[in-house]
Symmetry: C2
Subunit: 426 residues, 2 copies
């Protein structure tokens, strides 16, 4: 890629022949490289990132509460904790998850460094090289990165405006079974999908669950955006259809591991996410966490407890919703005005629009034009396991304000115009 | 083990057959289980843990500085950071490491969730199942856990009072080479070893380096305790013998990855450690971090920056040293008085004494007697890859105060007396 130029892509090393097979597949993500370049060009509007807006955070008030906690309980905040995570925060996690029908015992919750780390541990627990992971197409780039790093066979399933299509899911499963592939789990982001922005229809949720149960496939339900619907509506989690109080095995659902995070509903700087899992799997996750990091940050966990107990966090989430809704409207309005030839699903929550470019425009080739015009985005190819997706881009409305978003879309129009002119000259 | 009784060791799960090969080797650590039991018995003196004492921390003053940072820079502290970690903290890391002769560029530093996570990433980068990791005997239990989780072949090398014996190291390497084993790295804790408390003689350090260079073996130098010598003396790191300003490959040493941590010199609750590595390896470590967790906690990293920039951290380390020295003396004095038949190397820094029990006393079988007598320790078997070590126990003087330590050793004497009586009756 153009923005990789001048970087030492092949750093010499005398250890080149010592790497493990897993290490060999680790490659620099184009998206991260792009972020690094953009960080040095503040004049460029970035519609690329997934950073939440923290404008609504009352840091002056928060700082007082935190000072009090550090002064009184510093020796606890600064000490080692347990690998499973702070007990009080695990209880509070369950209070939040109950909003989307997730019930469990606090023993079934494990706190991790963001839900990304939970997904890393889960993949490590289940995936041998070439095992199949089923996922949506397009797929969240961070999940793709994890699955690839464990050398999973990533099989993606097309969505429509209502998310995963149960019939297509089952067809794909049967195809894989016929090839004697071991399908370990389905990874799904049912609400306000990253990058596709669609939400799995509620009536499809029990169907997806039943199909997976029938075929003995675990579901990883990743839900970072569920509380960020623009109108405040909440959808029952897939997990909620699986939970039964008189389970034989567990105080949690048996067929679903639920992942959540504080990154989007409070702030990402703490790196606190969580997995809610059947008891036996939860125990394995704790062992995995213990081996890998001993424990997560007590300081981060207890700071979040202080925030949740001292502030009206739901009011704050409602302010986030309002802000993201306004920004999404700014983006939609600008797209309709400047780029009517592009198509997209209108988002009802979350951070993203998944934009289909005009016929013949490739998102990777467009990027240098966009940068020159003063805007960047993430090319669609980042969200496919096999480099397809060049007709799409992901543009996010979470971090830039409405004026910046409008300017960014204008710049995008210029970029597409320039691209077409230049390509026509070739 | 007795303290495992009543726990669901074999939680039923419908997913039992789905686990990866790596997951199958993950087993509950007896030490962690012991900690959980002890946590519910505050009347028992724990000489088992490795928690630093935070008595010397001025939390009231720290809380004021932190409140100011959160109020002014909350939106940065609470936002995503980079996978490599905060640039300013990487600079400060280099200031600290320079004390032990470690020089590098800040680009060669990666911040992780404790140095444990750095070791996890390194192991992931280099180890395929059955590759050899060389290490000291006994080995730090957390490192053993990581190596085992990647199914490495852990080959341990006996130490004497001066740490690793270079001749024995080379002999072991040649034996492994003869068997066509792939030796990926030597893992060593040169200063105030956990659990053995010994320090690698300075004159042996260049020899260990030369042997590893000759045989193409990378060194992982893990140094959490180096600044905690009781008399304030500092030893040149193995890394320092390897560093050359006109390296062909890197702004860092070429044959050594250096690991450090804030856990013991400031506090563990932030989970911030670091690796200093050759450029190409550092880049792989960053990619590994990016895939696994996106980034570490910005909040923790920036809090540490605030602490380092606003407080006399070296004065604080000197207070820690003084406190640990006093506590180690209390332990040594009590051991000489109550348990003269036990032998050990006198520690000159760090947290631990590695105690050889009287002839015929097994540390695992002694543990229930110890618990009944009001003290716990870590059985030596935890620090061997193959369950040897029953003649040793690790007792730590880092967390309990001198009175508690003396009481603990008295209880240990009662436990050994009772054990001998009971065993004689059998």
């Amino acid at each position: 890629m153009w923005y990789n130029e001048g970087m030492d892509d092949d750093l010499a090393s005398k250890w080149e022949n010592s790497y493990s097979d897993d290490a060999r597949v680790l490659t620099r993500s184009e998206i991260r490289t792009l972020f690094a370049v953009v960080a040095e060009h503040p004049e460029v509007v970035s519609l690329a990132g997934g950073m939440p807006s923290l404008d609504q955070m009352p840091f002056a008030e928060i700082s007082k509460v935190l000072a009090d906690v550090v002064a009184k309980r510093g020796a606890e905040l600064w000490q080692y904790g347990t690998a499973q995570g702070d007990e009080r925060l695990r209880e509070l996690v369950l209070d939040i998850c109950k909003l989307e029908g997730v019930q469990a015992n606090k023993d079934n919750v494990v706190l991790t460094s963001g839900s990304q780390q939970a997904l890393d541990y889960i993949t490590r627990l289940f995936i041998n090289p070439d095992d199949v992971v089923l996922c949506e197409e397009p797929i969240y780039v961070g999940a793709k990165g994890i699955f690839a790093s464990y050398r999973a066979d990533i099989i993606s399933i097309k969505m429509d405006g209502g998310g995963l299509i149960p019939e297509l899911l089952e067809k794909t499963i049967i195809e894989q079974e016929k090839q004697n592939k071991k399908i370990k789990f389905l990874y799904t982001v049912p609400n306000f999908h990253n990058p596709a922005s669609v939400t799995l229809l509620v009536e499809r949720r029990p169907k997806v669950l039943e199909i997976c149960k029938k075929h003995g496939i675990l579901i990883i339900e990743d839900n970072p955006y569920g509380l960020l619907s623009f109108e405040g509506e909440l959808y029952p989690s897939i997990y909620s259809f699986d939970y039964s109080e008189d389970s034989e095995f567990s105080n949690a659902a048996e067929n679903v591991i639920y992942l959540g995070s504080f990154s989007k509903i409070i702030a990402p700087g703490f790196r606190v996410g969580y997995a809610i899992a059947p008891s036996a799997i939860c125990e394995k996750l704790v062992l995995c966490a213990e081996a890998a990091t001993l424990c997560s940050s007590t300081n981060s966990q207890m700071t979040l407890v202080a925030y949740l107990e001292n502030f009206d966090w739901m009011k704050r989430i409602n302010l986030f919703r309002k802000s993201y809704k306004e920004r999404s409207y700014a983006m939609i309005t600008a797209l309709e005005k400047y780029l009517p030839e592009c198509t997209f699903e209108v988002p009802h929550g979350g951070f993203y629009i998944w934009l289909k470019l005009p016929e013949g425009v490739r998102s990777d080739k467009l990027l240098p034009y966009a940068f020159d015009a003063g805007v960047v985005y993430v090319p669609g190819t980042g969200f496919y396991a096999d480099n397809r997706g060049a007709e799409y881009i992901r543009i996010s409305f979470c971090y830039p304000n409405s004026e910046e978003i409008t300017a960014g879309i204008k710049h995008l129009k210029s970029a597409i115009d320039n691209y077409k002119k230049q390509e026509a000259l070739k």
